[in-house]
């Protein structure tokens, strides 16, 4: 399959010179799983000084961080701190809200997703998203749900589509449970199965990055565990950014963790600290991070 281009007019290889991925000190430190150490240390997503508004209300101010390819990066913070907004800025979902605005730069493999002539729908084809509540399309069968993205993009023949559906369902660890019910409605599945269906739907279009917005908050502990196991596997092929209010979850799944907090001065979310997960949880550099992870607030 040909990868859809981010920029319509000019292919991405000719995009403005991609900055050399920066290597910071803390990337050298051991990570939660060691997975990133083995993988190529390439910056997949670079968030540079991003601020986001809802109307005139500043929600997120000056957030910068880099996400390494094939890593799991978690954004944690108390409710309403803007961590979901940061996530939605990465695949340009923030702007679908009326009056919403983004400033700053988000680079995907070096190319600015907010650059001129960039089509937001192309960005979203390369940066998939899984939502807080499982949201399978109710009018579609399980197979159709997984194939939805392919059909939106009009890629693949019927038999290719079948293969991709099976592949995606296997990757989402759902195939064995639904292989005899592919034509049944996705709504008949349990909550955890629905969420894995949504993950299958997201990865069926082969994105580079998968954003997960509190993907387990509507699920029971067993289903949560399954999704967490899945994340580690998916990180082999995709770059994953997850927003979670569950600190243990961040500690379990993430290689890097960012802590976002509402600052009193401008009542907008700021990135307080961004480190390898083990460092952030064992040697937080900021007092507020320490307060948060020790459960003093939030």
């Amino acid at each position: 399959m040909e990868r859809p281009e981010l920029i319509v007019q000019e292919p991405i290889v000719q995009a403005p010179a991609a900055p050399e991925p920066q290597r910071r000190d803390f990337f050298q430190v051991g990570t939660a799983s060691g997975r990133v150490e083995r993988a190529e240390r390439r910056v997949s997503v670079a968030v540079e000084d991003v601020s986001a508004w809802y109307g005139s209300k500043l929600a997120v101010a000056g957030v910068s961080f880099e996400v390494l390819a094939h890593s799991v990066t978690a954004l944690i913070g108390p409710s309403g701190c803007g961590k979901s907004t940061v996530l939605r800025c990465i695949n340009r979902m923030h702007e679908i809200n009326v009056g919403a605005r983004v400033e700053g730069t988000v680079r995907l493999e070096g190319a600015d997703v907010y650059g001129p002539n960039v089509d937001a729908t192309r960005v979203r084809q390369r940066v998939g998203m899984v939502f807080q509540k499982p949201n399978p399309f109710p009018t579609m069968s399980i197979a159709e749900n997984v194939a939805a993205g392919l059909r939106f993009m009009k890629i693949g023949t019927k038999s290719e589509e079948r293969d991709r559906v099976e592949e995606a369902l296997r990757a989402a660890a759902l195939w064995d449970e639904v292989k005899d019910d592919l034509n049944k409605s996705g709504m008949a599945l349990s909550g955890g199965q629905q969420q894995r269906l949504c993950i299958a739907r997201t990865i069926a279009v082969e994105p580079e990055v998968v954003l997960m917005d509190e993907p387990c908050s509507a699920l029971d502990p067993v289903a949560t565990l399954k999704i967490e196991d899945l994340m580690a596997e998916l990180a082999q092929r995709y770059t994953i950014v997850i927003v979670t209010h569950n600190l243990q979850q961040a500690a379990r799944v993430a290689d890097y963790t960012g802590f976002i907090l509402l600052e009193q001065s401008d009542s907008a979310g700021h990135l307080i600290e961004y480190s390898p997960t083990s460092d952030l949880f064992t040697h937080p550099r900021d007092k507020r991070t320490e307060d948060f992870i020790t459960g003093r607030f939030g």
Binding site: M93, V98, V123, R124, F131, K133, N135, T202, V205
Partner: protein, 297 residues
């Protein structure tokens, strides 16, 4: 809280407290009033059905459906021309009005969050409130006069004009009921706005829209006023769209106001058929929604 206070507060909830007794009495009185109002709403329907069955059931026979209206004073006959005419004009009116109405509803729901949408929404509501006889007169001037001919087509247009505002607003409301999370899921897969509407929002809202279509169809099936100056009525069977055509509500009007006993009986029978049809369509509308609970809040 002292023991004295506690005793007093318990008193509040017993029959011993006059305040409690008064509240209880008001509660009972208001409940009775609400029950009476609810009953008053249903009683007319029950009475209508009762009279229709009592007066109309006897005249329902095969002749009613297979014969055309009899000549004045000759007895016998049926209302085949009206049944066929109603089916044709309601069908054509629905066929003309539905695409326009759904298009308008989609516009209101997807692009109507602005001044233009607010104005259009208001105009649609005004159109819905225009008396149906006025719609008939309008179409008379628009189509019948220039053509110098009463036509079934003009009748269908008049019915479509009545259907459009009803169905347009229902379509808008059903589309807005589709959970935002489904739109977001489509956007997140890289679907542009138009594709999200066409492939996700509209199909999800479709059971609700079909219900609205059924209700609008039931409404226009019973309209006589917009057909009086357009389709006119016809005591002979006609399937020609460009000639006068009969319709059930028109035939009821002519027969009920006529002097002959067999006409009166057939008017009752037609009313019963019409009401049962509308009842059936409404029930069908309910089962569409019931069978496919897809719009989840």
């Amino acid at each position: 809280m002292t023991p004295d206070n506690a005793a007093a507060s318990v008193d509040r909830f017993t029959a011993a407290d006059p305040l409690y007794r008064r509240r209880k009495a008001i509660d009972r009185a208001m409940t009775a009033v609400m029950f009476a109002a609810a009953g008053a709403t249903v009683v007319p329907l029950a009475l209508i059905l009762f009279y229709l069955f009592r007066n109309g059931l006897g005249a329902i026979n095969l002749d009613l459906f297979l014969l055309d209206p009899s000549a004045p004073g000759r007895g016998g006959g049926g209302v085949r021309s009206a049944l066929v005419g109603s089916a044709i004009m309601v069908g054509l009116g629905t066929a003309i009005g539905t695409p326009v109405a759904i298009g308008c509803g989609v516009f209101l729901a997807e692009f109507g969050r602005n001044r233009a949408g607010t104005v259009l929404r208001f105009l649609v509501d005004v159109l819905a409130g225009i008396p149906s006889i006025t719609v008939g007169l309008f179409v008379y001037g628009l189509i019948v006069l220039p053509a110098r001919q009463f036509t079934a087509f003009a009748g269908a247009v008049a019915l479509a004009i009545i259907l459009i505002p009803i169905l347009a607003r229902i379509t808008e409301e059903m589309m807005l009921l589709v959970p935002r999370s489904l739109r977001e899921a489509a956007y997140a897969l890289g679907a542009p706005h138009w594709m999200t509407v066409l492939r996700i929002v509209l199909p999800t809202a479709m059971p609700g829209i079909m219900t609205g279509l059924m209700l609008a169809l039931a409404r226009i099936a019973g309209e006589a006023a917009p057909l009086m100056f357009t389709a006119l009525g016809n005591q002979f069977l006609s399937t020609d769209l460009f000639h006068a055509m009969d319709a059930l509500p028109l035939r009821i009007f002519y027969f009920a106001t006529g002097p002959y006993e067999n006409w009166h009986q057939q008017a009752w029978a037609m009313s019963l058929v019409l009401v049962l049809f509308i009842l059936g369509v409404s029930l069908l509308a309910r089962t569409i929604v019931g069978s496919k609970v897809t719009v989840r809040q």
